[in-house]
Symmetry: C2
Subunit: 167 residues, 2 copies
């Protein structure tokens, strides 16, 4: 029963993260979204990928969501919080999640080329607390959005090429 409740809650929060990923998609950014949720189930941080629009790799979805949560709480410690993100975080974001002492990380799609699991950072003894990791929540929706984005990018590239050939 508790598992079912957890799963419904996780799906609800991941849908919020997916809505943010769609905002990234609409801005022509790789569609990734993230929310930070506190112990009461309240969203205290939201972010979507804006690397190209804001000209910095510090505009990953997780970083924006965590910084907003830090601001709201007035603390860098997010011990009781859960981070929901539509795609497996990279090593930078995973390290930030650990440094911010986030209790639970829940992600959607796996990222076999850029995910933190490629690195030993996952098992590093640097961090003061453990992080519980749940993967695959609403993964199909996250994957679909990512595939659609990259497909669109390839089409745009193709159009550009055929356009240049005409000149």
């Amino acid at each position: 029963m508790s598992d079912k409740k957890d799963s419904t809650r996780d799906t609800t929060h991941m849908q919020e993260a997916l809505a943010l990923a769609k905002e990234a998609f609409d801005c022509n950014e790789v569609p990734i979204g993230a929310v930070v949720v506190d112990a009461n189930g309240v969203i205290i941080g939201r972010g979507y990928n804006q690397v190209e629009g804001r000209n910095t790799q510090c505009a990953h979805a997780e970083i924006t969501a965590i910084m907003q949560a830090n601001d709201q709480r007035g603390d860098w410690r997010l011990d009781d919080c859960t981070l929901y993100v539509t795609l497996e975080p990279c090593s930078m974001c995973y390290s930030l999640i650990r440094l911010s002492r986030i209790q639970t990380l829940i992600f959607g799609a796996s990222s076999p080329r850029f995910g933190y699991q490629l690195d030993n950072v996952a098992t590093s003894s640097v961090y003061k607390n453990d992080v519980r990791v749940v993967s695959g929540v609403c993964a199909a929706q996250a994957e679909h959005l990512l595939k659609r984005f990259f497909q669109m990018q390839r089409i745009k590239k193709g159009e550009y090429k055929s356009g240049s050939q005409k000149n």
Copy 2:
């Protein structure tokens, strides 16, 4: 001759990073400073650790310096740049350095407990370019500042304990 020139230039830029570390010290933050230098030797980003003051782990010296460089250049790519930092970066900052395609990383003191070299992140195949790493530049000054800071913290803690005993 070129090596000597490199070394003089590296010392000059590291002294700027050390001056920023001193600003952190004066704000009662772990004294770490960083600068981003472009191909012409011009500093385009400056940062010092402000994790406690700004309530976020995103206020590491390297992150602030890189974000400032991104702003100044209007680009997340810092291919021709060198990052000078007084202490070996953590995995989060090292990952950001790689994601930002910084060409050369020069650090002062080593960080055997928190440095990126603890993790495999250093050898990860995720990143598109290599990073040249030079360590130990002005290391003694960086170590001295860090030692003085932690010594002061221990003294403060001692005073606090003896103060509470009196109450």
